[in-house]
């Protein structure tokens, strides 16, 4: 297909787990690369050495501000990409790199890691450690529809991406504490348990119908708050879960009923 969008994977200080999560779509990744997106930059997968122009940059990892190359590359990414997506907890919120205090080999002077949103404007965040393969897949399909779809598809894609754009505006700090501060303290928690399921390090247990957060275990990936049905709930999109699931399935070449 000639009308593909261009996508790059920009690797800051992260573990490559988010890229692996993208690859965990298996044949779905091939479908995305065949029909919807050209991968124009990805240090792990593509032999391109400098950040090129692209429609969508998927940025994995936080930025070490003592690492000149990293700072230069994230600035370059903002200049070259139409849409910047913070892919995963590190890029979105710092995640585990928040706990760095320097002194590690072989760059002991590298001690300050910032979510990319502290250095550049971010359009969309995908929290989680890593964000689920299907969340990345859905975002890729929606990004394609937003840039290349019919008017109706553009409207759907915009509606789908809006809460992830709003999360980007919400800030660059995340923690299990968000469940206390922005859900329970706000009188919104109804004890569904979704947060506990979403936590990648099992730091959340449910006690008498409310989340109990082991704050020492929390790695600050932002999955729990983003996944909570009371952080955002866009009826215009989620009420259409059946048709959207079918649409994504069709886009991925899965047979319908």
């Amino acid at each position: 297909m000639a009308n593909k969008i261009t996508v790059g994977h920009v690797h800051m200080s992260g573990c490559t787990g988010c890229l692996v999560s993208l690859a965990d779509n298996y044949e779905g990744l091939f479908k995305i690369l065949d029909d919807y997106a050209d991968l124009v930059y990805a240090l792990t997968l593509v032999d391109v050495r400098h950040v090129p122009e692209m429609d969508v940059a998927l940025v994995e990892g936080s930025v070490c501000i003592q690492d000149e190359t990293a700072v230069e590359e994230i600035r370059e990414t903002r200049k070259k990409a139409k849409v910047v997506v913070a892919l995963g907890g590190c890029a979105s919120y710092g995640n585990i790199t928040r706990f760095c205090r320097g002194g590690q080999w072989n760059q002991p002077q590298h001690e300050s890691y910032l979510p990319i949103g502290d250095l550049i404007d971010v359009d969309v965040v995908l929290p989680g450690c890593p964000p689920g393969a299907q969340a990345i897949r859905n975002t890729c399909v929606m990004a394609y529809l937003l840039l290349r779809g019919t008017d109706e598809q553009k409207a759907l894609a915009a509606a789908y991406l809006t809460p992830l754009m709003n999360l980007a505006k919400r800030g660059t700090e995340a923690c299990g504490c968000d469940l206390m501060i922005d859900v329970i303290n706000q009188g919104l928690c109804m004890g569904c348990g979704t947060c506990a399921a979403s936590c990648p390090v099992r730091a959340i247990s449910m006690a008498y119908g409310k989340p109990a957060i082991d704050r020492d275990m929390c790695i600050k990936c932002g999955a729990c708050y983003a996944q909570c049905p009371r952080s955002f709930f866009n009826f215009d999109v989620i009420n259409e879960f059946e048709s959207i699931t079918e649409l994504i399935g069709a886009a991925m070449g899965q047979g319908g009923e």
């Binding site: 965990d24 689920g132 859905n138 936590c199």
Partner: protein, 292 residues
């Protein structure tokens, strides 16, 4: 639209007396999961099983009929069933997961399917989501107060609790019935329920509850293609007795009335939150709106 999209609505009850012996109403959830389990439509279902204290539910992944039977009946307190949704696909190794939940839990489920940020490999494994009707829920300690202080029944002596016809009822093992006006229970409701805009689990594959149907029967909404498929097979297999909802009393009018009351009241709560506080310039300071 207060009842959501649905393909059909009927009054139904299980044809299995073994299920009905301890079901809340028509045994719909237990029967449908038991059938789906037998047919391989699901590998297991997340249900509210028995917990560590009387009437405290604990979410369990039921993979046998016995485990489903142990989870029968309503407990009016929180069973965070969504907490097991990823674990069901991991430790339990289920490829086809069933889940029963309140409207809010089914909302969490559908959000998890469309935005699976912390839900790797979960979205494609949801095989059957059954939603229940829900006006509000109570924290365990609230339920305990209602039962022990208001109804004067020990939690461990109660064999059934029910809400209907404006009353909260507790039946004891020795045949006594204690009732209090539902009005007395309102102060014990979970605050998070007061912003909920869904009464009949609009986003489930199949939703069910007692309201609208005669005693011992349940009202059932079949909503999605998945729900329609499973329901048709279960009917063909003789799992359920059904009656057209138009022919039973009180029927859908009552469901519509209660749904409208809940949504209207809670919409007002959501709106009131927008001007809950006060800024220095006299303008409104808002609590957070989850629907924006």
């Amino acid at each position: 639209m207060v009842l959501g999209n649905y393909k059909k609505a009927v009054a139904a009850r299980s044809t299995d007396s073994g299920i009905l012996s301890a079901s809340q109403d028509g045994g719909i959830v237990t029967q449908l999961f038991a059938f789906a389990l037998d047919e391989g439509i699901i590998d297991g279902a997340i249900v509210a099983g028995p917990g560590a204290e009387p009437w405290l539910p604990e979410p369990v992944v039921a993979t046998t009929r016995a485990e489903l039977l142990a989870a029968r009946g309503t407990r009016y307190t929180i069973s965070p069933n969504m907490a097991l949704i990823k674990e069901a696909t991991r430790s339990y190794g289920l490829d086809k997961v069933g889940i029963v939940g309140t409207p809010c839990q089914i909302q969490g489920l559908r959000k998890a399917q469309l935005y699976p940020l912390g839900m790797r490999d979960v979205p494609d494994k949801i095989a059957l989501a059954i939603g229940i009707f829900c006006m509000e829920n109570f924290p365990y300690q609230g339920l305990e107060t209602m039962v022990e202080d208001h109804c004067n029944v020990k939690m461990e002596s109660a064999v059934k609790m029910d809400i209907g016809k404006g009353k909260f009822s507790v039946y004891t093992e020795r045949g006594a019935l204690a009732q209090i006006p539902l009005k007395l229970t309102h102060k014990y409701e979970q605050p998070g329920c007061h912003v909920c805009l869904d009464y009949v689990s609009n986003l489930a594959d199949v939703s069910t509850g007692s309201v609208g149907s005669p005693d011992g029967w349940s009202t059932v909404f079949v909503r999605t293609k998945v729900g329609d498929g499973v329901w048709a097979k279960a009917l063909a297999a003789g799992c359920f007795e059904t009656k057209p909802i138009e022919e039973v009393k009180p029927g859908l009018d009552l469901v519509t009335k209660l749904a409208t009351e809940k949504i209207t009241k809670n919409q007002k709560t959501v709106e009131a939150r927008a001007s809950f506080g006060l800024k220095a310039d006299g303008s409104a300071k808002a609590l957070r709106n989850p629907y924006l």
